[in-house]
Symmetry: C2
Subunit: 357 residues, 2 copies
Amino acid sequence: MTQRPTLQSVAKAAGVSPMTVSNAFNRPDQCSAGTREKVLKIARELGYAGPDPAARSLRRGRTDTVGVLLTERLPYAFTDLGMVAFLHGLATALADAGQALLLLPAEGNAEHAHVRNALVDAFVLASLLPDDPAVADVIERRLPIVSWGEPRLPGVPRIGIDNARAAAKAARHLVGLGHRRFAVVTFGATADIDDEHTLAVRGVHRAMAERVDGFTRELRAAGVTDVAVLDATKNARAAGAQAVAAALENPEFTAVFAVTDVLALGVLDAAARAAVAVPAQLSVVGFDDVAAASSSVPPLTTVSQSLFEQGGLAARAVLDQLAGREPKARPIRSELVVRGSTSAVPESQARRTPRVR
Amino acid sequence: MTQRPTLQSVAKAAGVSPMTVSNAFNRPDQCSAGTREKVLKIARELGYAGPDPAARSLRRGRTDTVGVLLTERLPYAFTDLGMVAFLHGLATALADAGQALLLLPAEGNAEHAHVRNALVDAFVLASLLPDDPAVADVIERRLPIVSWGEPRLPGVPRIGIDNARAAAKAARHLVGLGHRRFAVVTFGATADIDDEHTLAVRGVHRAMAERVDGFTRELRAAGVTDVAVLDATKNARAAGAQAVAAALENPEFTAVFAVTDVLALGVLDAAARAAVAVPAQLSVVGFDDVAAASSSVPPLTTVSQSLFEQGGLAARAVLDQLAGREPKARPIRSELVVRGSTSAVPESQARRTPRVR
DNA sequence: AGCGCCGATTGTAACGATACAGCAACGGTC
DNA sequence: GACCGTTGCTGTATCGTTACAATCGGCGCT
């Protein structure tokens, strides 16, 4: 078996210096077309695979790669449509800047080494637990960091919306439609630590709590206190359906706010099953505005937080830091997108619950 | 500004050899607890971030990372639920083996360098065009390769189902239910090359053509030739709806086979809009069995090809090659999952189209 | 002819770790 | 007490590039 040829060996075979070979591969303009072609031809003949990226990275001191640390177990990340949208935006913006994206599981099983060995120039933390050991590992690497949602670390730019304020918009919308009796569907609120899935959930828990808070606070400001909180076991469509199924038998509310589109879609499923018409009998509002929200039946009214755009912003914050620029904090808009799952409170219901003055 | 400390400098400060520092970080068992702690303490004091991954990779000759090359423009990859499911399986299996996953756009804009510089030990090609220039770049790297779906390269293990045979199962199912007049919804069949999106599409085109072929061939074997082929502009829910919308005004068929779940969901949307009851008036079959297929209304009957599992198989094929083992080809099952979107042909329709004998 | 300049090319010294072989000290065994 | 296997540590060579400064022709200008 022959040794894998190196840049040196190509140089020798071509009768030029190693630098010329390097130039031929990396800087066509620094090199006459003639020698360049000659070098490339010899390289091909020797079966040279091109400059070794590891050696190049060592020498240049950078990898042109950004690592993104995903919640605990990778599975969860891909199951979550919101996360996928964020990654989509992140990957796109990074690709345009010539950076590749390395997916890192925030382990939970391996020997703790993934973050330590990651060939990256910077990290993006995507909805992690503040006390996840992987976060400590990342900090130890002393590379630029950007955090999305959680955790909030001093000196680390964070991309994320004001969950409470955004949820309040949903409340205003529903109150404006005349609703006075509500249910909120959240998840992970009552979760235990010993469940494996729960660990992944805890990282996003804070955001969910903020949404519930913002929603109920706004209701209270409008004089409404009739809010039932339903806790789903996890952020999944079926779990959302399950959470409201019982309550839909004999609904004590005319509107539901789900802290996640995925949950809201589950609520739609449950309503369909229970023959509760949406929005005629029940209004439903979600949160995130994932792609599936616009094609559900009926299309979901939801709080849009432009996850794709947030991925792009995270990318820019990373690139700013890599370029030595101060990452400038741009506010992230969130807005209510009114579609077909909400309407004015039904007449019969309105009579049963007189307006507050 | 101080220089970033190196392993050497830590060794000097601790009064030990560099190897001892290396051992302290990487091989706790090769090192007495005492010295280990001393070394780590000094490292912390100096602000040492741990062994440099680039240097380590150069020396060890591996990166513990697998690169996955995605269709043309990254955006498409994340929009495609099937692709996400595959990546999910791939990432999970690789993570369990201690490998990270590097996402590489098969560019289309950048200066051609992404693949060349990728810090990886192997590549996975995910539904690429056989003539994508990036494929040539990958081959040039002379690293282990696994291909998913397309392209088919000599000597490269390929993960993928037999699309024609799988689609035939859908045909058999529908014929068995008494259907005799069909529509097939596909995409990209008539696409032009000058559209940017189309380029991405062409890579999966072959698979789609195989599905259409397998479906119609099976029908013909059953003596059925009444098949309308509808071409969607792209693999998206809305496009699927649009493709059948006109035909649903006055349907000439009782069953629709969509080459993709995403398209099939669009067909469901269109049917709902046109007040065509599924499955009472129209049966719909999809392909892929993405997560959304089981929670649609009605739940979609579809050809399941366990994309998640295929990701795992791709990972195993990669790991086999990295370990010097011959990757063993395992057959990938595809099976029809009958859910709620198909039923026997409606009586009125059955009369209109007498059975072939 | 002499001068300065520019683009192409070269030589050498890192970049920061780990593999490998070797060595000293230490107990336990006969 | 000689022998031997472990354990814990050390020295050095090397992984394959690229940065940097220096060099070398050739060519247009004066």
